[in-house]
Symmetry: D2
Subunit: 137 residues, 4 copies
Amino acid sequence: MPEAPTIEYHYQVMFFDTDCAAVVHNLAYLRIIETARTLLAAQLGFDMPAMAKDGVYPVLLRTEADYRRPAKLCDHLIVRGRLESIERVRFWVGFEVVDAAGTCFVTCRQSLALIKMPEARPLRLPAEWSTRFAHLR
Amino acid sequence: MPEAPTIEYHYQVMFFDTDCAAVVHNLAYLRIIETARTLLAAQLGFDMPAMAKDGVYPVLLRTEADYRRPAKLCDHLIVRGRLESIERVRFWVGFEVVDAAGTCFVTCRQSLALIKMPEARPLRLPAEWSTRFAHLR
Amino acid sequence: MPEAPTIEYHYQVMFFDTDCAAVVHNLAYLRIIETARTLLAAQLGFDMPAMAKDGVYPVLLRTEADYRRPAKLCDHLIVRGRLESIERVRFWVGFEVVDAAGTCFVTCRQSLALIKMPEARPLRLPAEWSTRFAHLR
Amino acid sequence: MPEAPTIEYHYQVMFFDTDCAAVVHNLAYLRIIETARTLLAAQLGFDMPAMAKDGVYPVLLRTEADYRRPAKLCDHLIVRGRLESIERVRFWVGFEVVDAAGTCFVTCRQSLALIKMPEARPLRLPAEWSTRFAHLR
């Protein structure tokens, strides 16, 4: 049966995440989401240090983020992420940043590809993905 | 004649903008674009410290960013930004991050609103905008 | 018996922590240490959101950081922190960033004070600290 | 006559530099100082992209920063930096972050070395420095 990889990452808001409007800054959410994305990538089977040795990196192609409500200092955020769909070289992941009460702060979709550096050449996604994530094609 | 506010902001890539793939990190572009956006906001007539005293902040509602080519350490980036359209409470701005040779690294669209904090209440855009930027409605 | 508050915080290195030298960037260590410092502050009894409502913030007065060895992408870092000494308005905290094998990447000492904003007035440390942390005076 | 390399870098405080205490965050000053340091390095003759091709990077060994007064959103900061002293492999740079009225926000001293990566081997400073900066030994 095909997998549907998901991740849940807990994070408490720090001073450096906030700005002088006393809310979490838009860049901070994307940094927090990036941590969740890296944990999701580990679940997808990416061994980052090994890939880096071969000059292969998961590279962000597109970000769409909607900022819905402001989070504050010390808030306990939950980032829920999932693999949403796969193409030949590109895959999409989706995230919500919520709290335990169900308030939704940010939603975000991102597409990525595996890129061979330094020539910046996109690679095909792993062959096994087409069966492993058949329902996401 | 209605204005079409634009901005051009020059930036040289620093170590802290890069990551171990030896390219500019996706979050760094958005920070650089935010500086351009703040300069554009000044042109639109926003006096941030005065607004902050009243608890009014321009708040990001949505970001769409496409990462097209990788920039590198010490690259001289040019961020070109413009006011793209205005609604009743929301306005859209657009940016390209390019270099002098015309290479395009990132394109980005963002919508914002003026928010009264701490109640997080959206305000109408300034009344004068409907004539000043009539062609962008 | 007087307490000796300590903290241990685990952190895995992310792409945004690294730079194009393929090592963790000096600013990233200080951000990671700040998270450990905030967890230590909770142990010291600081209720940040409550203090923020009163306009009181723990503010950094001085940082001394020694960068000893380079950490890399996906390394599992351990930040060990402790309250080192207290004065009338100032207190000192110390941190080491190590890994499970005992490699030491960074050591850091920082002094802080409680500051009443917006007038930026330093407050005396809590009266109970002189008994609670008597051995650290 | 020996040189005394100095730099002056102007910077306006952005939202992402501030935190919920409505002042510039301690990490932001160090990022701003890093930009000044990179401009100073160019004056010292460092060609970063060429050095990076050879795997040579100026690496921070120690930071000492004193946070003296809080800067705020949109403040116009001036970072003044200078080469302070040189040793065999290590050199020291110093910075003040001030404004046009002479208020001093932060002072900072940092030592660096040229490091050959990936083996993390410190290199001797350029031979010409011992005459060029004779008075700083």
